[in-house]
Amino acid sequence: MPQVPNSHARKLPNKTRRTLLKAGIAGGVVLVLARWMVTSYSPRESAEGTRSALDPSARTIIAAIVPVLLEGAIPDVDTSVEARAEVVAGVDRAVAGLPPGSRKELEQLFALLSFAPTRCLLAGVWSSWPDASRESVAAFLASWRDSRFTLLVSGYGALHQLILAAWYGNARSWPAIGYPGPPSLEIG
């Protein structure tokens, strides 16, 4: 049963005027960088011929994050390769269903995470995503979740929502959580 002692409750640093100012500047720089990196958007055709919202680098990033974000939830055995691929595909489908403005924001997020200098600087991940260790991905997720920069916290929020929805919307996840799935409408 999950028990997080209260002493672990993170104390947010006092937001002095100075740190707020710093956050504002950092946030602005990050946004400008992201917009500069994202030049244009157009829906892509995936191998299956369906509309794909994510470019290959975004898919690589999600594939690297999934085993850490879903640790303890997604099977950690050989069958997990398929499950992980399904989560990436689920995220792709979800992003494709978002309005253009939201897709653009996510594209900026993934551009920041794939561009090596910002990957190192903002995510603290020093190797390319496929080579990133679990530890470095875990440290990245924790640092964004606990960041005092709202831009990074909301970036964490987007990854959290997309990946968890893709996994728990997949019937493969249901037996482990005791969810029987939708009832049948057939009687008798």
Partner: protein, 541 residues
């Protein structure tokens, strides 16, 4: 319930039968050329306001055109799968957010709007709310006695009545814990007929038991010759000389996300905006409708909602059974213009909804998810908009013209949220919980009420740290006699455009303090009936 009749109800899709009989429904994503329509009344939006108005005005003999941004999905399309339903039936795949991303907004976007996906809770507008509107906004004609016949009429129309089936455990535990503590609770009335008690109201009712606009007023209007255009986004209202002249819409692609080159124009002498409390103000702003006092899109309310999860020794199975059956207004029984009060309810507990709302990730998150069947969850809906320090948010436009709601969660809100976390934890422990977690980024959980009380008192509450959600968007085009403070007059008519009306959740001067569907139905029934009389004096007078 009789198995034979239930099976028949499940296999029938009255909307598809109606389509086959010749109802005029146009999917704008399939148009090969632009479309121009003429109507007596054009209604933008098909939710609680638009649907109710469509039936009343069609019944009065008026030719109605309904514009809907979302798709037409009917009972045959409702498979009780979150992954499918959220992307198909909700705004922004159910991930719509406020500007700073601190509040996730669940808002329907489909034929029937929120009524197709809501959890069926039906409350008349609370007396304290109506009294506040009369006192603070000088609103006459909206007292308890004035609205009584309209609520009664819509309750009759939509089968709103006490729910006689035993509440599921997620709801029963709320009542049990409240009883232990001497906190009042009540049973929620629901707009259902022959409900199977499945628990999937939020994904579209597969058995047509929920009396949403999709199965009641919209079919009635279509049967009287109304035209429904789906996947068409009303973009601007053309106006001049204090009158609206036409509404210009853009077609959406089959995925429902991106505009196509198709234009749909509707000319009419009368316009009704029922696009919801984000959509209606945004349409007025895009249209540059007269707004001399800067009131449009201001005072937008959300009932910002905080969440408390608990683990119970016995199974809860919160994914099954009527999602909302029990409520407590104990913490609303205080002057509405004091510190924030809140309504307590229980939500349905399906995997995506729970997983995306629980904080954190990895093993700790997975451990909570593994307990889904034992999980008990309470929500506290904050009654915003009654106090000077609760001014609500404001609707504005992104650079591409899409709407965005800016809603600041400030100290006044967090003070109420902290009390709400404590109230929920105390009730959950009283109901037998072994562990309670206030949904917050620290994911701190408590094993006793004293521990929870101390922990909640120390929680760092600020935007993006606590999980805050909303399923009730209200305000932005408030109703009132004073054009300096209100967008529409007490007849529902725009203060500066004499043939444009707003009938939806955006007309509330504050939040409702209760799930808003019946407030929208009742007030729209009153305003639309008065409008029908004015538009058809010979026929009705």
């Amino acid at each position: 319930m009789a198995a034979a009749s239930s099976r028949a109800a499940g296999s029938l899709d009255p909307f598809r039968i109606g389509l086959a009989s010749g109802w005029k429904v146009i999917d704008a994503s399939t148009l090969s050329q632009d479309l121009t329509l003429d109507a007596d009344v054009v209604i933008v939006g098909t939710g609680a306001g638009g649907g109710t108005a469509a039936e009343i005005l069609s019944d009065a003999g008026l030719l109605v055109v309904l514009i809907e941004e979302g798709p037409l999905a009917t009972s045959s399309d409702f498979h009780m799968r979150e992954a499918e339903a959220y992307s198909q039936l909700y705004q922004e795949s159910s991930a719509r957010k406020t500007k700073d991303k601190a509040i996730n907004i669940l808002q329907g976007r489909c034929v029937g709007g929120g009524t197709t996906v809501n959890w069926t809770s039906s409350f008349r507008t609370p007396a304290a709310t109506l009294e506040h509107w009369a006192r603070e906004f000088d609103l006459r004609g909206f007292g308890v006695a004035d609205l009584e016949p309209w609520f009664a009429r819509m309750e009759q129309r939509l089968g709103i009545s006490p729910w006689l089936v035993a509440a599921n455990e997620n709801n029963s535990a709320l009542r049990r814990g409240a009883n232990v503590l001497g906190i009042s609770s009540g049973e929620i009335q629901r707009n259902v007929k022959g409900c199977w008690n499945l628990g999937y109201c939020g994904m579209g009712c597969p058995t047509n038991a929920k009396q949403s606009m999709l199965v009641t007023t919209i079919p009635a209007a279509l049967a009287r010759g109304a035209t429904l255009v789906t996947r068409a986004r009303a973009w601007t209202i053309e106006h001049g000389n204090a009158r609206a002249t036409s509404v210009h819409c853009i077609g959406l692609d089959p995925g429902g996300t991106d505009p196509t080159a198709r234009k749909i124009t509707v000319h009419a002498p009368t316009f009704i905006l029922s696009a919801g409390a984000i959509g209606s103000p945004a349409l007025l702003i895009r249209s540059k409708a007269p707004d001399p006092h800067g009131t449009v899109g201001k005072r937008s309310f959300l009932h910002p909602t905080v969440v408390s999860a608990a683990l119970m020794p016995d199974r809860v199975d919160g994914f099954a059974g009527a999602p909302q059956a029990i409520y407590s207004d104990h913490f609303l029984e205080r002057p509405p213009d004091g510190p924030l009060g809140y309504k307590l309810e229980a939500p349905p507990l399906h995997p995506i909804l729970v997983a995306t709302t629980l904080p954190g990730h990895g093993v700790a998150h997975a451990n909570w998810m593994r307990e889904l069947a034992h999980m008990h969850v309470l929500i506290a809906l904050m009654r915003d908009g009654f106090h000077a320090r609760s001014p609500g948010g404001s609707v504005g436009l992104e650079s591409d013209g899409s709407p965005v709601l800016d809603y600041r969660l400030d100290e006044f809100f967090w003070e109420g949220a902290r009390r709400a976390f404590a109230s929920m934890a105390e009730i959950q422990f009283a109901a037998g919980a072994k562990t309670v977690m206030s949904l917050h980024s620290t994911a701190a959980s408590y094993s006793s009420w004293p521990a929870a009380k101390a922990g909640i008192a120390a929680l760092a509450l600020e935007p993006l740290q606590a999980s805050v959600v909303s399923a009730h968007v209200m305000g932005g085009c408030p109703l009132g006699p004073d054009p300096k403070r209100a967008v529409i007059d007490p007849s529902g008519r725009h203060h500066h455009l004499e043939n444009l009306y707003v009938f939806d959740g955006s007309l509330f001067p504050t939040s409702v303090g209760a799930n808003p569907q019946l407030s929208i139905y009742g007030i729209t029934a009153k305003l639309a009936t008065e409008l029908a009389v004015r538009l058809t004096p010979r026929r009705l007078g």
